[in-house]
Symmetry: C2
Subunit: 347 residues, 2 copies
C-alpha cells in the first residue's frame, strides 16, 4: 500500500509537503499542489488511519453506542444507525458500532472505544433519564451527544423529539374530536423500568394532558407479549366506562391491536379513535393512521452535529457557558401531527 513517502517521491517533494497539501493547512504553490494531487490519484493514496490518529489524536470516527437493550434488537435502531452513518459521512466521519457487552458490564465496550481512542466522540442511543454512560464519558473528557432528553439537561449535548408535547398534542387532537375517556398505551415496561427518556417523558405528557384538558387519560403499559397486551386492553374495554380513543406510543403493536379489537367487534375509527406516536413499521396494512412520527433523519443529523461541535470544544473551560442557564447545547424537536383516517368524532 502506498505511503506518504511514495507520494512525495512521485511528486518530487518532501513528505511534509504532501501532508500540507492534503490538510490544506498551509499555502502551497499551484504547481506543487497539482503535482502532489496527481501522485495521490496515481497511487490511490489514502493516509493510514492509525498513523494519522496517533499523531493528530483525531480519528475521524464517531462511536455509536447501541441501546443497553433489555429485549435484543430494536427495529428503530436500524434507521438510526443508517441515518447516523449518512449524517456522519457528510461531516467526514465514519461510524463505529459499539454494542453493550454484558448486563453487568454497562458501557465497557464504550469505555474501550473512548480510552483506546477508537473514536473522537460518541453518540449514545437509548438514553436513560440518569444514564450512567454520561458520567463515565465525562470523567474521561470524552465528547458525547445524546439521542434522548435526560433528566440533567446540563450533563451533555442532547437531542430528542419532544415526547411530552407529542402525547399532549395527541390527547388534544382526540379531545377536539369530542373524546373524554382515553387510554394512553405507553412503551413496554422494560423501557419504562430502565428509565428510557422517551418512555418517561411520554408518560409525563399523558399526565400533564389529563391535568390540563380535564379529560380522563388512563395510562397502561404496552407489552411485547401479545397475550398479555390484549389482556390489558380487554380489562379496559370490559370496564363500565371503556375508552373511546387510544393514544399509542408503541406503533409496532398496532396491527395486532386492530386485529384483536376487530375480533371483539370494535372497529377503528367507527367505535374507537386512534393516534399513534413513535417509529412506524414499513407497512401497517395500508392503514392511514393519525400519527406523530419519530423524525429519525432529523435526530441523526442533530446528534451528529452536536457530536462534531463537542469535539471542537474539547479542552474548553467549565461547562457550557453559552448563556442558556447552564443547559447544554440541544435540539428539541417539536411534534408534527399527521392527520390520517383513524380519528372520528366521539360517539
Amino acid at each position: 500500500m502506498a505511503t506518504i513517502k511514495d507520494v512525495a517521491r512521485a511528486a518530487g517533494v518532501a513528505p511534509s509537503t504532501v501532508s500540507y497539501v492534503l490538510s490544506g493547512s498551509r499555502k502551497i504553490s499551484a504547481d506543487t499542489r497539482t503535482a502532489v494531487q496527481a501522485a495521490v490519484e496515481e497511487l490511490g493514496y489514502h493516509p493510514n488511519a492509525g498513523a494519522r490518529s496517533l499523531r493528530s489524536t483525531r480519528t475521524d470516527v464517531l462511536a455509536l453506542a447501541l441501546p443497553l437493550s433489555g429485549h435484543g434488537y430494536l427495529p428503530v435502531g436500524g434507521r438510526f444507525m443508517y441515518g447516523l452513518s449518512e449524517a456522519a459521512g457528510r461531516h467526514g466521519y465514519l461510524v463505529l458500532l459499539v454494542t453493550p457487552p454484558g448486563e453487568d458490564d454497562r458501557g465497557a465496550g464504550l469505555e474501550r472505544a473512548a480510552r483506546g481512542r477508537f473514536a473522537d466522540a460518541a453518540v449514545l442511543m437509548g438514553v436513560e433519564m440518569e444514564d450512567p454512560r454520561v458520567a463515565a464519558m465525562r470523567s474521561l473528557d470524552f465528547p458525547v451527544a445524546l439521542m434522548g432528553h435526560p433528566d440533567d439537561e446540563s450533563a451533555a449535548p442532547w437531542c430528542d423529539l419532544d415526547w411530552e408535547e407529542s402525547v399532549v398534542s395527541s390527547v388534544r387532537a382526540l379531545r377536539e374530536a369530542g373524546h373524554r375517556r382515553m387510554l394512553y398505551l405507553a412503551t413496554v415496561e422494560e423501557d419504562v423500568g430502565s428509565g428510557r427518556t422517551y418512555s418517561v417523558r411520554g408518560i409525563r405528557g399523558a399526565e400533564r394532558a389529563a391535568a390540563e384538558s380535564g379529560v380522563a387519560v388512563d395510562v397502561c403499559h404496552s407489552s411485547d407479549d401479545p397475550v398479555e397486551l390484549y389482556r390489558r386492553l380487554d380489562a379496559r374495554f370490559d370496564s363500565d366506562a371503556p375508552p373511546t380513543a387510544l393514544a399509542v406510543q408503541h406503533p409496532p403493536a398496532i396491527p395486532g391491536i386492530l386485529r384483536h379489537l376487530a375480533a371483539r367487534g370494535i372497529e377503528v375509527p367507527r367505535d374507537v379513535s386512534l393516534v399513534a406516536i413513535g417509529n412506524f413499521p414499513e407497512d401497517l396494512g395500508g392503514l392511514d393512521v393519525t400519527r406523530i412520527e419519530l423524525p429519525v433523519e432529523q435526530m441523526s443529523a442533530a446528534a451528529t452535529r452536536l457530536a462534531v461541535e463537542a469535539i471542537a470544544r474539547v479542552g474548553d473551560p467549565g461547562p457550557f457557558d453559552d448563556g442558556d442557564g447552564g443547559r447544554a447545547p440541544h435540539t428539541l424537536i417539536p411534534p408534527r401531527l399527521i392527520r390520517g383516517a383513524t380519528v372520528a368524532p366521539a360517539p
Copy 2:
C-alpha cells in the same frame, strides 16, 4: 490518558513487558503478570488503537459495507448491523459502518476504509451477482466476506440463505396441499435490476420449482408502491385461471396484500394459501404465516467467522486451495419451513 509507559512505571517493568502480558505472546512470571494486571486495572489502561494498528497492522475492526441501496434504508439492514456487531464482539472486533457515498462513486467509502487501514476486513451487505466491490477489494488484497451468494463462487468467501431452495421448498409445500396454480411474488424490481443475489436466486428457484413439479408458477415482481403492487395482483386474480396460492418473497408487503385481497372478498387461507420467504416485520397483525425466515443471526455469525478466517489467510498463496474445486469458503444455509396457518388444501 494512561499510556503503556505509565503502566510500566506503575508495575516496575519495561513497556515491552506490559505489551507481552497484554498480548499473551510470551511466557511471563506470575509475579510480573499480576503486577502488570493490577497497574492496568488501576490506571484503566486501554492500548491506543492508532498506535497499535500502526505497529501491528491489525485494527481489530471489521468494516460493514452497507447495501448500495437504490431505495434508501432497508429494514432488514438494522438486524444485520446489530447481529454483525454482536458476532464481531465475540471475536474481539468492533464494526465500522461504511455507507456508499454517491451513485457514481460505488465503493469509494469502502476503498477509503481499506486503503486507509480503518479495518482488517470488510463484510459486504446487499451483494450483487457480479458485485464490483469484490474485484476492487481483491485488487487491494483486502479480505472480504460476502452476505450473498454471488455468481462466481471462487471470488470471495460468502454466506447466504439458500434462496433458490427456499422458493423450491415453498412451492413444494403448496403443491403438497394440492395447489396447481401459484403466483410467486419476487422482490422489488430495483433489487432484481441491480442483481441482488437473493432476488436472482429466488426467481431461479421459482423457475426450477415450476419445471420440476410441473405446476404453473407465475412470476411477478413486487413493488414498494402499493397501488402498483395491487394492480399487478388484480391482473392475476382477474384472469381466467387465478392463482390459488401465493409464495411471497417480500414479507413487509403482506399486511397490505391481505387487506387488499380481503377487500376483494378473498380470504387467506380460505380462498388462497400463502407462504412467505425472507425477513419479517415485528408484527404481521398477529397472523401466523407459513414461512421461511431469513436467519439473520446465523448469517451474521457466519459472515463474521469467514471474515476473521480471511484475515488470518492474508498473504497466503493462490486462491483457496482447500480442495473444493476452487470454491471459496462458504456457508449455504438450508431453508427451514415453519408451518403456520396460511396454507390450506386447494379448492
